[in-house]
Amino acid sequence: MASSTRPDRAPAAPSDSLPDWQERHANELAQSRKPVFKSSSGLPLEPVYTPEQLQRAGWDFARDVGYPGEAPWTRGFIPGGYRQQLWKTEMYAGFGSAEEANQRYRYLMSQGSTGGISIALDLPTQVGYDSDHPMARDEVGQIGVALTSLDDVERVFDGIPLEMVGHIFSTANAIGPIVCAWLLALYEKRGTPTGDCIVQLQNDPIKEYVARGTQFLPIEAAVKLTTDMIEHCRSAAPEWLPISVSGSHMKQAGATVIQEAAFTICNGITYVESCLKRGMKIDDFGHVLELHFCTEMDFFEEIAKYRAVRKVWTRLVRERFGGTTERAQHFRLHAATSGRPLTAQQPLNNIARITLQALAQILGGCEQTRTASFDEALGIPTQEAARTSIRANQIIAYESGVPDTVDPLGGSYHVEHLTLAFEREIDSIIGEVDAMGGALAAVHGGYYQRALSRGAYREACAIESGEQVVVGVNRFQSDEAQPVPTFKLDPGAAQRQVERLQEVRARRDGAAVQRTLQELRSVCLSGANVMPAIVSCVKTYATIGEIADVWREVYGTYVPEAVRF
């Protein structure tokens, strides 16, 4: 098509500059498919990028990119990238009772899920209610596995050798310290050294108050508990990863890719500063911090984000937190494909979306990745859908050649320009949040919430007007039904879970439970680190609701605020 529109004469000499090229082809460049081209975060996109724009932006190879495994870390922490080791492919799963979750984990591991066990928790567990609490009615085991006491945890891992698992992750946020205590107790009972299987908990309550919604304590208390857990793990389980500061939920709630990166870093600053205030040194814990993001559909923005985040965070560690070692700068960068762009309409289209997202996070150099399943818009993933996502990763890994060159997009004029723009935009938002008094002030003032709400509405309107195309939803719809088997939860699972809990309550030593809960109450009141007391509680099979109730009693509870629009 393009060649037929070219003039029928000998080619002119090549343009000698970008303005020259733009002027020479002005007529053709004006014939665009869209009135304006912008990235999903709203950055203007030029038709083409050249060394001239990079020069204008002040880009410098050594300062801004350099070599893999070296500062400024834009190209990754590992010199050989995926030539040394492929990314870890982790699958998030969990539903029903401990036994059902246990079966699914065994299946995923047998299929080549190399990222260990990633536990989805049901909502009552996440907000600190026992499975038989009135607020838990109808929600037990619905969107994740119900864990109420050490007994459930023991059954989830029944017959699974921890050293074979290698890595355990869970989205435990406000309840992070309780889940951490369960696992410390489990390892102790089994005699498993903490280094044999790395535990990683999300333990990032701040974003819950603006996006994910499992907060149940005042935010200051939640940050204190998070800090307790980080501090305790440094001595009790130094190999574990006690926090994963997460941007993905904020993006799924409406943040742009830039805001996702910047807000996550601002929240990360708050946790680090909370640790530093206790006298901890960044050189001792910088390497156990994780930043977690999700990858959506703007392919190049996502790649630029991962490159820019490595650059910005490592600079903060050096310049703001006083880190002096390389290790302190090497946080864990975790990426997950996003369930949000997946559509219920024509669900097999989601395999293409998942593959593109997985490719973007791999090109962004993420060492740990999680991949969604194509039927997620319809319910909990079926085994087939989960397996297909593992296969998508394996196809990229073993068939595409993508992992054979480190940071293959490094030096792309477009990607470098975008990476630089991301770095500057992120720095500017950090400055804004600092000026407000930090992330907690930003939450109290509704700054994040407004940004997310507006972003979500902007996108909804753009989809409704057709300005933003969602294939199969507002364009290219199809009447042909694509039958996809959906996952059916065993309706008896919740009842079995409640019965189990009642059995545990009946057979445990009630006096020991009360004594440890009383000790926890005193420790909470004293302001000391609560972790040792929580470990004592869980060993007596005190339940999550009992422990969380002590917190609620001492710290108070989160009160939802009505907002007038």
């Binding site: 909502l123 009552p124 996440q126 907000v127 209610y129 607020m135 838990a136 009615r137 109808d138 929600e139 619905q142 969107i143 819950e208 994910r212 919604g213 499992t214 907060q215 799924q252 709630a253 409406g254 219920a344 309409q345 818009a377 997310l452 709400s453 507006r454 979500a456 509405y457 902007r458 909804a460 309107c461 753009a462 409704e464 007007s465 939803v473 939860l489 939802p560 605020e561 009505a562 907002v563 007038r564 629009f565």
Partner: protein, 156 residues
Amino acid sequence: MGSPNDDLARQAATPAHGRPIRVVLTKVGLDGHDRGVRVIAQALRDAGMEVIYAGLRRTPEDIARIVLEEDADVLGLSILSGAVVPLTRRVQEALRVHEVEDVVLVVGGIVPEPAREELRGIGVEGVFTPGTSLTAIVDFIRASVPAQRSYGASGA
């Protein structure tokens, strides 16, 4: 800055009974994902309605009280967990106990087909699942409210 949705902004609400339609939106149950309900809040606002988003994890009793206090014409429940029918039923019971009878009840979220029928059976007037257009929701609420109000008045 104007509304990002010109269509909605153009159709400014004609206030029925001398005041704008008042809508209480809330999450019920433990699910904390409120992107959808916040989008709806802004769409209804841009259509000229007064919108109160009550926030997360409200109990049925809380909800009935807020609806009364705000004298709401419409109550919108946002539920993304699997428990949409039992949670809605409990809210209906609380409304009945508090003698709130003239509020238009709508539900938004992930609602499988059989649950949709059940919800209609317990008096839910509108069920909006992902992909429903904002304009359709605005139109539905506009159309439902005046009728409900006059019904309430004649029945009193």
